[in-house]
């Protein structure tokens, strides 16, 4: 896993030999997209490449919501908490997930199976609340469906 991550980061750095300071965010985005998260090691090396201190990079990365510093779970939920979904009850959906998984948004469960994040407006305001599970959309989800959903997904992950 660690090895794999390093290779991905090496590849990205190879593409950006000429990079300047203003490319910092796009490079971080590429690392996040291809490696799934931003590891400590990649921040240190990025600092060397661009001549920026590690703390500055970490400070910047934590300022933006997009970046995560832990690998996401094998099942990743994205919950829409835009205004319409909120009006249709996405808040209780988030509490249900928090209760069921025992972790906060952006974190991953210890067994590495689940993680979730809250996003604002996915763009399907007619049938909220919307929840995306590994790229698949579920509309009009209610909080009492969550335990069964997690149970089903656990079963799928374990048998995978």
């Amino acid at each position: 896993m660690e090895r794999e991550n390093q290779d991905v980061v090496n590849e990205i750095f190879a593409r950006h030999r000429q990079a300047r300071k203003e490319n910092l965010i796009p490079i971080l985005q590429e690392i996040q997209k291809e490696a799934g998260y931003i590891s400590e090691d990649s921040i240190v090396r990025l600092g060397n490449l661009l001549g920026i201190s590690t703390t500055k990079i970490y400070g910047l990365a934590t300022f933006y919501d997009q970046f995560r510093f832990l690998p996401s779970g094998r099942i990743h939920f994205r919950i829409c908490h835009g205004t319409t979904c909120f009006m249709n009850g996405s808040g209780s959906l988030i509490s249900a997930l928090r209760e069921e998984l025992g972790v906060e948004p952006g974190q991953t469960t210890r067994d590495g199976r689940f993680s979730y994040e809250i996003v604002t407006c996915m763009g399907s305001c007619s049938n909220g609340p919307v929840i995306e599970v590994n790229g698949e959309y579920h509309t009009g989800v209610s909080n009492d469906q969550i335990p069964a959903m997690i149970k089903r997904l656990k079963h799928i992950v374990d048998n995978d």
């Binding site: 985005q29 933006y64 908490h81 007619s126």
Partner: protein
Amino acid sequence: MEDTKNYLISRILLSGSDTLPADVEKELQTIRRERISRPVIYISSGTSSIIAGSARTDKAVRDYLSEMGIEADLVNTGCNGPANYEPLVCIQLPGKNKLVFRNITDDKVDSLLNSVFHNDIPDEDLVGQSGTRGFETWHGIPFAEDHPYFSKQKRIVLGNCGCYDPGSIAEYIARGGYRTFVKTIRHYTPEEVCEIVEKSNLRGRSGGGFPTGLKWKYALNTTASNKYLVCNAKESDPGGYTDRTIMESDPHRLIEGMAIAAYGIGATTAYIFIRSGSDHAISTFRRALEQARDYGLLGHNIFSSGFNLEIVVSVDAGAFVCGEETALIGSLEGKRGMPELKPPYPATSGLFGKPTIINNVETLMNVPLIMKNGPEWFLGLGTESSSGTKVFALAGKARLTGIVEVEMGTTLREVVEGIAGGIREGKEFKALQLGGSTGTFITEEQLDTRIDYDELKEINSGLGAGSFIIIDESTCMVEMVRYYMDFMHHESCGKCIPCREGTGRMLEILDSVVKRPANDEAGTTLERFKGVMQLEAIASVMKDTSLCGLGQNAPNPFLSAMSNFREEFEEHIFDRKCRANVCRGLRTFIIDVEKCTGCTLCASKCPVNAIYGTRLQPFFIVEDKCIGCGACYDVCKFSAISVK
């Protein structure tokens, strides 16, 4: 493919005259699918369609066609109709008007196509027929254009949305696209471009309403080695999706608008700053950019005019404050997106210290039309102080939601009751929120206000970025205000104290209003009242002293809810009641004396000793002490306890 490209460039883009010869026009009609020899099936494929399952519909249609051996074209368009109708499918048979069907999920495809290909039009799921270009009309089928959702709109900016394949530059050119751009760089000077836009009275569509042409002139008249145009497609408001829909449905018009604007201010590099998470919009826009480059519409010395332009896509990393101009520039420079003091304004010193013009997507979408039809045409639309149209993202509890465009001067009521069709499930209208998470609430009495920059200002409202949220009686205003404050607190960048601390304290106080105190120690009730008294004071300090618009406007929802819906706040604070029954923290429980056996289980579980009674007699709950935790409800074996 290469033939089409050369043909379009030489015969259309580079043709000097405005009118095209008949043979070219005929060719274009074929590209525009106005003359078809085999059936065409249009499937809307924007984000909301994808969520509703348009990809599965697409596959089902392909499977059906290949199974039946039917020769037909399949076109993936952008969004057009209400989001409730997704996946929207249009079918056009040769020589006949287009038929529009709604909610065509994959399981309905076979039966629908079967009936349509046998000329038997099913009534179910039919929206109507569409088309006026001399095709044969279907008898007894209403026109989709007469549907109130469409008939009350004036689609100019959205004119192409949902009508063509956003992945095809040829179709865009056949619809008259890019001709204005080529004409502009060949026949107009940058000064003339600024002049025309200024004359048209186009005002920024992102909230401020600053005259666009005037802003461009500032940048044009500043001497600098380099200038930049930035298209702000950040749109991170939790209820807005207009920019995203436009980029998904008509990316080429946006590129054309950006190119004309860049030429007008003398920029050779243009950035587009897109919100992260809108993957479909980003990929659609990138593909459109590649096509435009391939056609020579971007790059070095475009069509030998001496004008160079490169468009760079920059994806935001997820911070609401980056919608603010100076924060956006900071983010583009690779720093934390934090606002800076103005002046200097970006128009004179912005990105990398060079003059930078930042325009919103909708503003730039208007530019090619103004250059094509002239400023007088644009002035003829809308009201005296606000020309043109406005795009809104209808959301909330409306019957129909989706992206709509109305002429300036239309009343809010026409949009709420006409286009959106009123409130879902026959509920009562409560408020309308314009302008996103920092917008104010508009009450029923104010609905007759016209959509116009100045008239909305009179009722302390504004257009904002175009979110249009309809709120019904089942929504609690206090909880709504708390939600926005939570969002603002999360998104506050932390640079200035009034915003960073103010949003936090306001959120804390609002949090205490929507739930019961967990205990009665150390005067929590008293603290709660003191907090409530200070809310308005905190709000006014934030408004006066915050650095950027985020902090200055963050208290807006609270202030307007307080003035328009004061009684709801009072009910929450004094009576601990939520009339919409949304605030779960305020609920209390009641024991049914008929069912209670006096088993004492609930009383022993109650964490605050709010349940009293004698063994084997019915018990009762002291409402003032109850914290609404629900422990008694969970343990009662006789279902004697219910929510009051």
